[in-house]
Symmetry: C2
Subunit: 410 residues, 2 copies
């Protein structure tokens, strides 16, 4: 009998390792999710993760909406729904998109289980094994995970304070076929930087010239603290852009609701892929979200989230000035949830995390956000969204201490 | 400018057709979902689809549970959760599995967005392009859809009144490598037949001898009208079986909740695949379902569903005896939601559907349940779950008329 890692004790005749598909052998567990487990010890201040501030969740509105939906349309909310998404919710979201100046219709939109599912469906309908996708480095680790499963090859360009180094893209497009360019223009996860309008224009020009499309991932766009909103890429060139957003940072992540805006024929393909993936997104959840939205609640609520995160960001930045040793650099976000800290060359943020956990503070090491799993060793991501101002101040104090201990070692 | 099927009128420079992955070119829309759209005309009696009886949905229990969960643990319900699933819900489901005699632990279970997502994750971690999977013919069309997207090759065996013709499987296993055997032992969708215990034993023996694992899809197992429950395959040989079930037919499909029971190392791989696919299943929905379950509501409720469907099945079978012309055959289900009708050789059920729609009754043509999209032309699936007894009687009367009209033509 082979043990083979099963916990039961019968006769295992399946060689499970051999049974796995090639793509499954490339899958690994998210560093973040593993780190988060480690963080669940008492007294730990977590500046890792991407959890929105739970005290801002609109619990009362969810209560009212759940009651209303179940009372007035319970049988519909609990029944199978169409793959495309609940039409009134789509209408609400389309009216938001129209305000940007994108004349999207119902056939241009699909509701998904959080924008992570959008990333998965993109992989599913576009990526052949070995296909090249162009991303920032660092980039959102959920995108790396989703597309690694479809055996994508990642080609990357660095970021600076104005976002993606668009000037480095043309050489890549000249050199090799690229399936698409993935970008997070607003308040980048993990880097906290924002792509300038000039670079958005240039990116669109390049995409058009080389016949490449753009995935614009915009989960945080509404959470700007300072300055003016910058035109989304989908507005600059909607025909070649697939736009993603989510309710995770505005309503709540626990409901798993996101959406895609794309050319109609691509949405039709996404719908086919989603039918096979999970039939449709929960009708119950979509109807509740719609009920909350149509009450006009969201605008005021998002303003409150924005103000809270803005204040926390300021607190974090001041605390870093105060407690961090010299030789470190960090980004100063105009919005969103994250900022990015760069340690002196040669400092290992994975080793630092161990020291930090001893000091009862946690972050996500930079390597999580690189498709090679190796780069970014001397960097890490912090979030200012989850903890309150006092905890942020104390967390940064502890982290400063941990960094000093770690620097003294190396 | 190419038109290229986008609805906007700008400069389209992406050749979207060329951009699609090879697997996406094989995806098509579900015949069922397209047929369902057609059915939404006034006065239509739908005996197609797989919608549970909406009047049985436990709306009041959902109201109570939503309130309770939001009031007592709102911040948790709306926050990100772990990919593995909400632990108390897993504990509840594990206790159900333990009653069958399977000593599964938390690491043997994953919560998914309906069992359709389980089928997708199975494809994702096991199927390389060109891999052979063995299914019944006909089989659940969601499985065909899910695995077609991963470029599976389908090898099939027919069914008879005792389920899968297991006696035909060994020749196939001798002849070629098979990745897994997919079966729906209880109240087969679409065929309405049940796999005998003897055949389950034989199937397990074959799987062991040839080192092939079994996917046991059991969405309807609790809905038995007559006779005794038959031991699930996972009980006969848990080490080589992946077991799937769902709340869709017991609580409600609109919440999209299902689960997988499998060897721990396979669950770990499913978890990695699900992280990339959608991070996790809605915490909100899982906590509500758990709250309903832990009130002990489910047992009584499932009994009521069973009695209702049993009565409707009897009504449908009597009506068929009364209204259907001679020369047709149909299955007599011991449970579930479906039965399968075979028309005289050469009769086209797709053409029949058009006549039936004129008579204001609808069903799903048999071709939907064959991986070649061609076989099953002279058969169709009926569900007795959705409509009430009087509508079933009237629907079968109309369908009898349509069949007579169609037979007179050919």
């Amino acid at each position: 009998m082979r043990d083979n890692g099963v916990t039961w004790d019968g006769r295992v005749t399946t060689d499970w390792d051999v049974a796995l598909a090639k793509r499954a052998q490339r899958m690994t567990s998210s560093v973040i999710r593993e780190t988060l487990k480690l963080m669940a010890t008492p007294g730990m201040i977590s500046l890792g993760g991407a959890n929105p501030a739970p005290e801002l969740f609109p619990i009362r509105e969810f209560q009212e909406a759940s009651q209303y939906v179940l009372e007035h349309a319970g049988a519909k909310a609990l029944q199978y729904g169409v793959t495309e998404g609940y039409p009134p919710l789509k209408q609400f979201l389309l009216s938001k998109v129209h305000k940007y100046g994108v004349p999207a219709k119902e056939e241009n939109m699909l509701i998904v289980n959080g924008s992570q599912q959008a990333l998965d469906l993109i992989g599913k309908i576009f990526i052949n094994p070995g296909d090249t996708v162009l991303t920032d480095r660092p980039t959102y680790l959920g995108a790396i995970q989703a597309w690694t499963a479809y055996e994508a090859r990642f080609v990357t360009v660095p970021l600076d304070e104005d976002g993606t180094r668009v000037d480095l893209i043309e050489d890549i497009l000249k050199r090799e076929p690229v399936k698409f360019i993935y970008c997070l223009p607003n308040f980048h996860n993990p880097a906290g930087v924002t792509l300038s309008l000039e670079r958005r224009q240039k990116l669109v020009d390049l995409a058009v010239r080389y016949g490449v499309f753009i995935i614009e991932d915009d989960p945080y766009g509404e959470l700007r603290f300072v300055g003016e909103d910058i035109t989304p890429i989908v507005v600059l060139h909607k025909e070649n852009t697939i736009y993603l957003s989510t309710f995770s940072k505005t309503l709540a992540p626990g409901i798993r609701l996101g959406w895609i805006v794309a050319p109609a024929k691509i949405v039709a393909k996404f719908v086919q892929a989603k039918q096979g993936a999970d039939l449709h997104t929960s009708t119950f959840v979509q109807m509740i979200a719609h009920d909350i939205c149509q009450r006009g609640f969201l605008r005021q609520h998002v303003k409150r989230i924005r103000e809270t995160y803005s204040e926390r960001c300021t607190v974090m930045l001041s605390a870093m000035d105060k407690y961090f040793p010299s030789g470190l650099q960090w980004t100063r976000p105009q919005g969103g949830l994250f900022l990015w800290v760069t340690l002196p060359e040669g400092t290992d943020s994975v080793a630092l995390l161990k020291v930090a956990v001893e000091e009862k503070v946690a972050f996500i090491p930079g390597t999580a956000f690189y498709s090679d799993g190796e780069s970014g060793r001397n960097a890490f991501r912090l979030t200012f969204a989850t903890a309150g101002p006092e905890m942020i101040e104390e967390g940064i104090r502890r982290l400063g201490k941990a960094i000093e201990r770690q620097l003294a070692r190396t």
